[in-house]
């Protein structure tokens, strides 16, 4: 329990590393929405853990060479000091990296505990820090030239290329996360390695050493940082170094991943030694600085545009300032821990064993040599205690799987239910919108109908007006007739000029009577065009006069009015109407006008 408590500072460092450095791998892709955050976070978390557990030992070993923090309290304080210096320097907007902070803190511990600092290791570490960004830049340039050559040769359609790059970014991101876990896990839990209890857990299928479990815990803490906080960093600082397009992002992330991989791969280093080359120093390097190096490399290749050269100065400043500040903070924190809280920060009597392998050929046991501590009087190396936890592990796996299956079943059921509800809601919305559409159409049709009705009404009024006009003129004519009769009966002597003039005026007024009647008939015919067509279709035997009578009856004109228009007597109208009823077989109780209006 005490170990877990002291480990908390390291796990906090892991959390900050995950939250900040995941943006170096997926920042450009997520920030520019090429990849969804959820997808990126899951891939990054899985591969960071894998990298930490499978390949994290190499870089941790080098940190151990620099200074083996042999007491748990010391390891806790060193990690805490590194964390405080990162927090403080970030607040002051100074360039900071976890790798440089932890190295500074270890040197601070060396000074505090009077342990000698291995200057060979320190030189190796500082050289790697300088080499990291330079190598990042070189790799980026080479990869960029290669990619450009391939694209020029293949002439891939930009849209298709976009698809390839999306998946390229996912694959390269997975590799980058693996390398980040492998290289930077040393920063997170490296100082705790000498304090790890010496035991092995046998899971049946594989065996894990205490160190590997420590790496697993560190990897999980990085993954938690990625899942919980890296989105904000990706969205805000993803592009702060330089606005990258998709191809450049792919190249820089790949270059960064390669550099981190090279500085953490024991097998690659062994291969180098095998072919007669010097061994690769396995050192934790700053992921951000490698990315900056890669971006600057591409910037130089493109003619020096958009390069923030002050970043180079800031990086160089970080190499010096960060370790010094972290060292000072570690020194004072260790002083407070040991003198105020009485926490043991160092085992003075212990000695670190270097370069000794406890690997057993043919087994999967991986034991890190840095974990071995020998006491002064011991002559033999203690073999770690092995706990057979195959059965509990198997049971845990079965329980875990059962829980996952139940959860999945529950989730699928819920999803189905949600889909059903959504489908139902969608159909309701569809129905409502269709109903609204229909209502709108109905409204439009009703409006059109009322408009048409009003138009018909206006036309009917106009027709009546013309008819009444004709009637009035007929009345004038009959008045004129009686006036002439009166004049006839008068003596020639009494006949006045004014009488004749009056007659002339009346005659001029009624001169247009025929013309107006013809206009009226034409008008009636024009507007009743459809009516005539329907009438002919229904009653094909009707004469022209009967059709004319029908059109006038349709206007609801009285017999007297019709008589006046047609210039016949009302009696003739009655007779014609009777004949019409008979011709079209109309019963007595049926209204002829109503029937005609329906047409």
């Amino acid at each position: 329990m005490a170990f877990l408590f002291f480990l908390s500072s390291g796990l906090f460092l892991g959390w900050t590393l995950g939250a900040n450095d995941a943006s170096n791998v997926f920042g450009s892709a997520v920030g520019s929405k090429l990849i969804r955050f959820k997808q990126a976070a899951i891939i990054a978390s899985i591969f960071v853990i894998l990298g930490a557990v499978l390949q994290g030992a190499g870089a941790s070993h080098t940190l151990g060479e620099l200074g083996s923090v042999d007491a748990l309290g010391g390891a806790f304080t060193v990690a805490l000091a590194a964390g405080i210096s990162i927090f403080w320097m970030t607040r002051l907007k100074l360039p900071v990296s976890t790798s440089q902070a932890i190295v500074g803190a270890i040197i601070g511990w060396n000074f505090f505990t009077n342990n000698p600092t291995d200057y060979n290791s320190l030189t190796k570490i500082v050289t790697t820090w300088v080499m990291g960004p330079i190598l990042g830049g070189i790799f980026a340039v080479l990869l960029f030239l290669l990619l450009r050559y391939i694209l020029k040769k293949r002439k891939i359609h930009l849209i298709k290329l976009d698809g390839y790059i999306k998946y390229g970014l996912l694959i390269v991101g997975a590799f980058g996360s693996y390398s980040l876990g492998a290289n930077n896990i040393a920063n997170v839990v490296g100082v705790f390695i000498p304090s790890v209890p010496n035991f092995m857990l046998d899971f049946g299928l594989f065996v894990m050493s205490g160190t590997q479990l420590l790496f697993l815990a560190g990897g999980v803490s990085i993954a938690v940082g990625i899942l919980t906080y890296s989105k904000r960093v990706m969205m805000t600082v993803g592009d702060s170094l330089m606005r990258l397009n998709a191809e450049t992002a792919l190249v820089t992330v790949l270059a960064h991943s390669l550099v981190l991989f090279i500085f953490s791969s024991q097998s690659l280093s062994d291969l180098f030694v095998k072919i007669g080359l010097p061994a690769i120093p396995l050192v934790p390097v700053s992921s951000s600085q490698v990315i900056v190096g890669a971006i600057i490399g591409i910037g130089i290749l493109k003619g020096g545009r958009n390069i923030k050269f002050n970043l180079i100065g800031k990086i160089a400043l970080g190499w010096v300032v960060t370790p010094i500040i972290a060292g000072l903070i570690a020194f004072f924190t260790l002083f407070i821990m040991s003198n105020v809280f009485n926490i043991k920060v160092s085992e003075n009597a212990t000695q670190f064993v270097k370069n000794e392998k406890v690997y057993e050929e043919g087994t999967t046991i991986i034991s890190d040599p840095s974990t071995k501590i020998i006491q002064p009087n011991d002559t033999l190396i203690d073999l770690p205690k092995t706990f057979d936890i195959y059965k509990p592990f198997l049971i845990s796996i079965v329980i875990l799987l059962t829980i996952i299956i139940i959860y999945l079943l529950y989730t699928i059921d819920k999803l189905k239910e949600r889909d059903k509800i959504e489908e139902h809601q969608e159909s309701i919305e569809k129905y409502n919108s269709q109903q609204k559409l229909l209502m709108n159409e109905l409204k439009i049709i009703n409006a059109e109908n009322s408009k048409l009705e009003k138009e018909i009404e206006a036309r009917e009024k106009e027709q009546k007006k013309i008819a009444l006009n004709i009637i009035r003129k007929n009345e004038i004519l009959s008045d004129l007739k009686s006036n002439i009769e009166n004049l006839k009966s008068k003596d020639e002597d009494t006949l006045k000029y004014s009488d004749l003039n009056n007659l002339k005026v009346v005659i001029i007024e009624s001169l247009n009577i025929d013309k107006e009647r013809k206009t009226f008939e034409k008008y009636i015919k024009d507007i009743n065009n459809n009516f005539y067509k329907n009438l002919e279709l229904k009653y094909p035997n009707l004469t022209e006069n009967e059709k004319k009578l029908c059109s006038l009856l349709r206007l609801k004109l009285s017999s007297k009015e019709i008589a006046s228009i047609l210039n016949i007597t009302p009696k003739s109208v009655e007779v014609n109407r009777y004949r019409l009823r008979k011709k079209i077989n109309f019963k007595k109780d049926e209204s002829l006008t109503k029937e005609l209006r329906k047409l």
Binding site: K33, K155, L158
Partner: protein, 216 residues
């Protein structure tokens, strides 16, 4: 993974299909306008009908591409520029169609003496847009080669503008027999034909800025 590859492939095909429609549209515009000037009414009607149809089809494809871009967040850094480019290319179709429709509706009288100039203006305009579409097409596969094509677009656009100005000057200064209303009518048609080539110039500028952005 398969899905996004399929979608990318289908969008790439849609873009090619869109360019094919625009290419055909330009040919129909050139033929149609020339047929009108030469007095071939039946052929003109046929060209107008075809252009109408092509314009509608191009619109549909353009809307589908736009939809796919947003739905599958394709090329998020350049999507707005690319969609703007396609929209401007579609403007060529719209404007060509409008010009032919105006010929059809307003039936301007083109005097014999300016027929040759009108035909030349139509040809230069068609050449400028004819070079703009391949430039846009090649942008999607070899952005570096766009520059060569753009030069041709700008050259033909300048030529079309100069000819249009000469034509307008000729109409107003050399034709005393024409009424002012007829002169204004003819100027209006010269202007509209010229404006189609201005869209080609806009496409050229958009392409230049896109190439710079992509190479950044």
């Amino acid at each position: 993974m398969n899905n996004i590859f399929k979608k990318s492939k289908s969008v790439a095909l849609s873009i090619d299909g869109f360019f094919d429609k625009v290419d055909l549209g330009i040919l129909n515009f050139k033929k149609g306008a020339s047929n009108y000037v030469n007095g071939n009414k039946n052929e003109f009607d046929q060209n107008l009908k075809t252009l109408n149809l092509l314009e509608k089809e191009a619109d549909t494809i353009q809307r589908k591409i736009e939809n796919d871009f947003y739905l599958h967040s394709l090329m998020p850094n350049y999507s707005s520029d690319i969609l703007n480019l396609l929209e401007t290319i579609d403007d060529i179709m719209d404007m060509s169609n409008d010009v032919l429709n105006q010929f059809d509706i307003e039936t301007p009288h083109i005097p014999e003496l300016v027929k040759k100039d009108f035909l030349e203006l139509i040809s230069l305009t068609a050449k400028s847009v004819d070079n703009a579409v391949p430039a846009a097409r090649i942008f999607f596969t070899s952005p570096d080669e766009v520059k060569d094509k753009i030069q041709k677009v700008l050259f033909y656009n300048r030529e079309a503008n100069a000819l249009s100005n000469n034509l307008k000057r000729k109409i107003f200064q050399e034709f005393d027999t024409l009424k002012l209303s007829e002169k204004i009518h003819l100027r209006y048609f010269a202007l509209h034909i010229e404006q189609v080539s201005d869209v080609a110039k806009r496409i050229a500028h958009l392409l230049s800025s896109l190439v710079i952005k992509i190479n950044m």
